[in-house]
């Protein structure tokens, strides 16, 4: 198959003999691809019968992540809380409590995975795609299995490096078949006659559940005979090492060897010759490799085999010897050939090779959630002890991968942003990029983006969002909304543009469409000159309406003389002055009249200068104004005369 790019703006063309015509593809987004078949354009359409041609369809191929399924959403949301509290906790916590914090957080992750498994089991009973649910369940099981092993081997290290106790707990909680079998057997009428009776006994012994094994044996009709009493004693007396048990390793070893030699003695002396099943139990206790290996069917996996073998051969095993034990166990179950990717992860963990663990995890689990969170945990753990330099970088990069999955989903972007807060400079950069590019579907989404951006002091993002909203409102003809967003973004140019639009509309229509808005601009008015003018002009209207002519006149003249008004608006202002000039009581002083006259003069000059060049539209307004000009001049001179007399008489 050959695939090559044709240099037509990111449209890829795939040529393959199997595909009758070519296929084309365009990258449609972060995680989508648009694919469509090639169609030649012939000049003569009749060459192909229309039935064959059909319509060309565009196929959108999107990457699907398990993380987008409903089952995973709970995990994503809950993990976010734990992740953030972990980042905060490691900064504040005392070095002594460091480990316990990490262990606690690791257990939180595990418990949320388990809760998801439970949800899925509940779902399976009532609804949904069974296959998908089963796959989800298995995936979650694997994640939990790996995470708990990582907790034991890397995070919750016990003093002295004794790990068998924890490994045993790990096996017990993940392989519950023997307990299920035991319950089934014990519920039957005659437990000892049940076909799985001895399997359940062996299974319990192999997991070190001695109490369960003894309970089952005591239900046997021959429980009072010597062989049974003897094995009961051995099971009861088996020593278990406890880290904080107050017994030193050396002392434990002595006790344990003593106990095992007692087992061997009884075996050799033929205590159990009458009952071969008890003999098998005793052989397990003696750590007989062959016997344990033969019971592999009860254990399913090599790691169960490994732990069970270690339990009866080397209970004080330390981490560094675990690897060879694992290799032995794998050899028993069929060697490297039969291992699965999951086995590789576990093996890598037992080799204490962090990098390998993370690598293998990426292959076994098709989601970035797990690797990202595990790497974060490991990075914090190792940051304390060793100098694994690659870890912080790896953590950042894997978490960024995870976030990029989150933000490419329409609904999970907020969680993505919260993760980015803890990912250093590249996180902040990505956070800004993401917030800028989120589709602004409605106001409430815009407000949420603004809130997130302003919490992080991304001023440019806030301004950007407001501008987009403002311009959209403008294109929808919602001037009020547009001005609000413009003021919000402190975008002087945009608000000026809007104010001009309102003024021009006023020139044409003679009324304000959004007067309410303009009345209450408040301090926002000061953002741009035009907006200030607009606000003040509106104030003039209010005064005039209220009959407060004197103040209105002062404001009007100051508006005219301050040159805040755009030139196309001057005629309007001067015409507004007309009724004031004609009012019975002179409200415009001589000084103010001069200003108006000066303004009129300027306007006249401008108008006559541009007379011929101006467009038809302007001409119409100009000529309309010129008609009134005579009227205006008359009124001005009359008012000037009145004002001079009035002022003179008041002075006297």
């Amino acid at each position: 198959m050959s695939a090559f790019s044709k240099n037509t703006s990111r449209t890829w063309s795939i040529q393959d003999p199997v595909i009758t015509n070519r296929m084309h593809g365009i990258i449609g987004g972060v995680s989508s691809l648009l694919v469509f078949p090639h169609k030649d354009h012939y000049k003569d359409d009749r060459e192909y019968p229309s039935a064959v041609e059909g319509k060309i369809k565009l196929y959108q191929v999107e990457s699907f992540s398990w993380l987008w399924s409903r089952q995973a959403r709970k995990l994503i949301n809950e993990a976010m809380g734990t992740f953030i509290s972990l980042q905060d906790a490691v900064k504040e916590v005392e070095p002594d409590d460091y480990k316990s914090v990490l262990v606690k957080k690791c257990r939180e992750y595990r418990s949320m995975i388990q809760a998801c498994v439970e949800d899925i089991t509940m779902c399976r009973e009532c609804e949904g795609d069974q296959e998908e649910l089963t796959a989800s369940g298995q995936l979650l099981y694997k994640m939990e299995l790996i995470l708990s092993l990582i907790e034991i081997l890397f995070i919750d290290k016990k003093p002295g490096g004794m790990i068998l106790g924890q490994l045993l707990m790990w096996i017990r909680s993940h392989f519950t078949q023997c307990i299920e079998k035991k319950n089934e057997v014990m519920e039957s009428d005659h437990p000892h006659q049940h076909s799985a009776y001895w399997e359940a006994v062996y299974g319990s012994v192999l997991q070190g559940r001695m109490e369960d094994a003894r309970h089952m044996l005591s239900n046997h009709p021959f429980a009072d005979t010597d062989p049974f009493l003897s094995i009961d004693e051995l099971l009861r007396k088996m020593p278990f090492y406890q880290v904080y048990g107050g017994v030193s390793v050396a002392e434990f070893t002595v006790r344990w060897q003593h106990w095992q030699s007692e087992c061997e003695r009884r075996l050799q002396e033929g205590h159990y010759s009458t009952c071969h099943q008890l003999q098998t139990v005793c052989k397990i206790l003696c750590g007989d490799q062959k016997t344990i290996n033969n019971l592999i069917d009860l254990m399913d996996t090599w790691y169960h085999l490994m732990v069970s073998t270690l339990l009866f051969t080397c209970p004080t095993v330390k981490l560094f010897r675990l690897h060879s034990a694992a290799q032995d166990a794998i050899a028993c179950v069929g060697g490297e050939q039969s291992t699965t990717p999951l086995d590789h992860v576990l093996l890598a963990a037992m080799e204490a090779d962090i990098l390998q663990v993370i690598k293998e995890c990426q292959q076994v689990l098709d989601n970035t959630w797990f690797t990202a969170h595990v790497t974060d945990l490991l990075c914090h753990t190792m940051g304390q002890t060793t100098d694994q330099k690659f870890l912080p970088e790896l953590r950042e990069s894997l978490l960024l991968d995870y976030v990029s999955v989150l933000v490419s989903h329409c609904s999970l972007w907020q969680i993505g942003i919260l993760y980015l807060d803890h990912l250093g400079p590249s996180g902040i950069a990505m956070s800004q990029t993401v917030l800028q590019r989120l589709p602004l579907t409605d106001d409430s989404r815009a407000h949420k983006i603004i809130q997130m951006a302003s919490d992080r002091n991304f001023d440019s993002v806030v301004v950007g969002v407001c501008r987009v909203m403002g311009r959209r409102a403008l294109s929808q003809g919602r001037l009020g909304s547009a001005i609000w967003w413009g003021v919000r973004s402190r975008d002087a140019a945009f608000t000026s543009h809007l104010a001009h639009q309102i003024l021009q509309k006023y020139v044409v229509e003679g009324r304000f469409e959004s007067s309410q808005l303009l009345d209450d601009l408040g301090p926002a008015m000061l953002l741009s000159d035009t907006l200030t003018f607009l606000g003040k002009y509106r104030e003039f209207h209010m005064m005039y309406q209220d009959g407060n002519f004197r103040d209105a006149a002062v404001l009007l003249v100051s508006l005219i003389s301050s040159k805040l008004a755009p030139e196309y608006f001057w005629p309007v202002l001067l015409l507004d002055a007309l009724p004031l000039l004609k009012s019975e009581e002179p409200v415009i002083s001589a000084e103010q009249t001069y200003e108006l006259m000066y303004c009129l003069h300027n306007l006249h000059n401008h108008a006559s200068k541009r007379g011929k060049q101006s467009s038809l539209e302007n001409e119409a307004t100009c000529s309309a104004f010129l008609e009134k000009e005579i009227d205006l001049r008359l009124a001005l001179s009359n008012n000037l005369a009145r004002a001079i007399i009035h002022e003179g008489s008041v002075d006297n």
């Binding site: 329409c410 809130q451 001037l479 009020g480 909304s481 926002a524």
Partner: protein, 348 residues
């Protein structure tokens, strides 16, 4: 006080208790609406008697984000969608939902649909507001809106509330509160201005004293308005560090107010300290207006801003979008795809 958090795999925009079947009854059923997802839903939940999480009873797909929901009667509610439509659902006693009526283009911009932002109801009609700035009055039995009051300037309206049977107050992005008398054909009876053009994100009216309206602002402050004095708010108290998304008076003990916000806080405002000593507020006996503290919200303590505020749920970095309270149990929906439930919320 005990807080439970249930993850529901969708961001929750609205939570509402189903009203109790009688005035003195209790309710254990609530509805939620999601937003911003590929497929949004309206869901019905039941709170079990035991201390368990609520369980889902019914789910119905919903076109667009569910921006608001309001019960009109005890078994009928309206839902406003981000695609500009309002839908009427029947919520029967077996907790099954059924669509009864739909006004698909209640709110429109030129050529496209405008999100419906909030709904209010007085028991027999629905008032709907949207980003187009219009106030649309709908009759549940009538396909055509009874009345559409168009805005000037097209400022998005974010909240609406009935203060009397025929009077509604709307609030818009500029912080203007307008009082409309639906019987008269005139424009707004009064305009109330929040200072500094702070957008008002939600309104709530006092369950018994309807001239009292609480407004949650974009700056995180709660303003108390007395509709008899429209020149300025009675008091403004800041508590949230981000926009307030919803305000609710406790229906039975209205000296308690709950607000939630984009800063992830859910705050309990307790004004009962400024009331004269009265009997302990309980759901049953404060419904009658004579009982309890009548003017707590207009007391001098409140005016000074001396009011007790307590954060009800642990801090969440994501917005809490909606809150509702009935009896002693509070529910809230968040962008963390979780429903919070707080039992015994008044007693701590």
């Amino acid at each position: 006080m005990e807080v439970t958090k249930k993850y529901v795999a969708r961001k929750i925009k609205t939570v509402r208790w189903k009203p109790p079947t009688t005035d003195y009854g209790r309710t254990d059923v609530f509805i939620t609406g999601s937003w911003d997802d590929l497929d949004n839903v309206v869901e019905v939940w039941q709170v079990p008697e035991t201390e368990e999480d609520p369980s889902r009873l019914h789910q119905l797909p919903h076109l667009g984000s569910v921006n608001d929901m309001q019960y009109i009667t005890r078994d009928m509610f309206a839902a406003g969608s981000s695609n500009g439509g309002v839908k009427l659902y029947q919520h029967d006693s077996s907790n099954h939902l059924e669509e009864k009526m739909s006004w698909d283009r209640a709110h429109t911009f030129v050529g496209s649909s405008a999100p419906c932002t909030a709904l209010a109801t007085n028991g027999d009609q629905i008032a709907s507001v949207g980003e187009d700035g219009n106030l649309v009055i709908l009759n549940p039995n009538q396909k055509i809106p009874i009345r559409t009051i168009e805005s000037v300037g097209g400022c998005s309206v974010y909240a609406v509330v009935y203060v009397r049977a025929s009077e509604v107050v709307t609030a818009n992005m500029q912080g203007h509160l307008k009082l409309w008398d639906l019987r008269s054909a005139q424009s707004a009876r009064a305009t109330l201005l929040s200072p500094d053009q702070i957008a008002v994100c939600d309104l709530a009216s006092h369950p018994t004293q309807q001239h009292l309206v609480a407004a949650g602002g974009e700056d995180g402050a709660l303003a108390i308005w007395d509709m008899r004095n429209t020149s300025q708010p009675f008091t403004i108290i800041s508590a949230h560090s981000g926009p307030i998304s919803e305000v609710r008076f406790h229906p039975g003990a209205p000296e308690h107010v709950f607000t939630c916000g984009l800063d992830g806080q859910l705050i309990h405002w307790d004004a009962s300290a400024s009331a004269r000593p009265t009997h302990i507020p309980s759901f049953k006996n404060t419904r009658d207006p004579s009982g309890g503290s009548i003017n707590v919200w207009l007391s001098s303590d409140v005016a000074r801003g001396a009011i007790e505020t307590v954060s009800v749920i642990p801090y969440s970095p994501l917005p809490i979008n909606s809150v509702d309270v009935e009896g002693s149990t509070l529910i809230a929906g968040s962008d963390n795809e979780a429903i919070y439930m707080v039992r015994q919320v008044l007693l701590y």
